[in-house]
Symmetry: C2
Subunit: 291 residues, 2 copies
């Protein structure tokens, strides 16, 4: 059996075909232009293969409520062309196969959960944060995605401000200094006047950002007590991760007992941002078993 994966992102649609053991058989990506052009190319691509099911991890926000009239649509996206595009239904009408649609970061979370379990990790739950152009998070709990009235939006929470960062207003258009407004990739340009890849690992900005991310992880910890945290996205590097763990330990201050943080707060197991592809394959297989 072959299955398909789409990672629908703001700049490109990464498409892949895989087997039941999550090996990538073929892959291709298409620039994200207007919905008609982009989705036509994607559909043409998958029609070359006999895929049995498709997993789609898409930018959003998405309406994922199966009882909603808008189920499977992209909602109030900053990408105006894509607003109200019923991505699930368009793909379903053309491909006629079981499709599982979720958020981009949920796809990555699921990939890390599946691979972690395959490697023998005891994971009943997992929280995946991506820190890149924006900040998002996905939560797996007992094998399912959390989110009742909608999917998580954990980039948009407030945190206690760092004493050395009080002058920075934050860049979130909705909330100014929410987590995304303080630690997403574009903050480097605003705080320091240079791109993230040009910022030295010795720059004190990493301490400030680690302080904020550690608070976000502490919020998730105190809420869910998850089995594991995975931090992905272009902003994350080993130096930053180490600082996040240090700040997290300081902030929690032994209030609860914690696993060894080196194994608890980690980078993705799947390299090169490939978690979502594996997650989508696994979700496609699961969906094909249910339909």
């Amino acid at each position: 059996m072959l299955v398909g994966s789409i990672e629908a992102g703001g700049t490109k649609f990464v498409c892949a075909v895989g087997d039941e053991e999550y090996n990538i058989v073929d892959s291709h990506h298409f620039p994200t232009t207007d919905p008609d052009t982009t989705l036509s190319k994607v559909i043409d691509y998958f029609q070359q293969f006999k895929i049995s099911a498709l997993g789609v991890a898409s930018f959003g926000p998405l309406d994922l409520d199966k009882k909603s009239a808008n189920f499977g649509s992209i909602m109030a996206s900053p990408k105006l062309d894509w607003r109200n595009i019923p991505i699930y239904q368009i793909l379903k009408d053309r491909l006629h196969i079981p499709i599982f649609l979720t958020t981009d970061v949920n796809g990555s979370a699921y990939g890390e959960y599946i691979i972690g379990r395959l490697r023998g990790q005891k994971l009943n739950s997992l929280v995946y944060y991506t820190i890149g152009t924006g900040v998002g998070a996905g939560i797996i709990y007992d094998g399912k995605f959390l989110g009742d009235l909608g999917h998580p939006e954990m980039g948009h929470v407030f945190v206690k401000r760092h004493p050395n960062d009080k002058g920075f207003e934050g860049i979130c258009h909705y909330h100014h200094d929410c987590l995304e407004g303080l630690v997403s990739g574009p903050t480097f340009e605003v705080r320091l006047g240079k791109r993230g890849e040009d910022v030295s690992l010795n720059d004190p900005v990493w301490d400030v950002m680690a302080y904020y991310m550690a608070q976000a992880l502490m919020q998730s910890t105190m809420t869910l007590r998850p089995s594991k945290f995975v931090l992905g996205g272009s902003v994350v590097n080993d130096t930053f991760l180490k600082k996040v763990r240090q700040q997290y330990k300081l902030l929690i201050n032994d209030y609860i007992s914690l696993p060894s943080l080196e194994d608890y707060i980690v980078r993705p197991l799947v390299e090169n941002n490939g978690s979502a592809t594996i997650g989508n394959f696994a979700l496609a297989i699961k969906q094909s078993q249910q339909e």
Copy 2:
């Protein structure tokens, strides 16, 4: 069938006997002294009735991991006498009936969930915050309590500080200005030199506290997107709740669509802090069906 309820609190153990429709048949409370004396009285009380199962909502922290050697024990409690007391096992060994043990606030959360559903509310999930001597929260999601490596401790999260409250250091022994350190009942004495019941509803402290609680609700919203929030505990009054709703709306700033806040962020349906008793009865009934 009769079932029992214990709300094990820091100052008293509230015991009740109820029927399958959650009517209270009898109730009694005992002061919380040393574990032997307190639990003996509680056991003697329940032995007067032919109860088939017991729900226990206890102060903690509790070890609720069924695979743990300490399952059912009170762990690092500030009440030193009660540390490492295996409350579940002591009750089980003497009463020989199915027992469900959970945190105090989980008991209240479950009561509100059960009564809400009986009244026809569509609740797939519910978050209950109690704001009193401390701040705690319980989460029901798909009929179960959330919490993987342990139960929630959502009083101990950080929030963005209010500009008019920067001089206040907070009173949490572990975290200083975490949520509990900023909005629990004993903060009135430290901030204003008087007890909460003597603080005017016009005092600006309510705006400061509402700003912090609204952030806590926003964190939970962005994580879980729950069906409903219930705010209980001695600090909560209608004026405060109204301010929490206003701040919450301002902070979220239409980033996600929300239900009508008057029905979304509410005080308990069960009056006089009775939610936990109902919740415990319901959990006892559920447990008796499973054993």
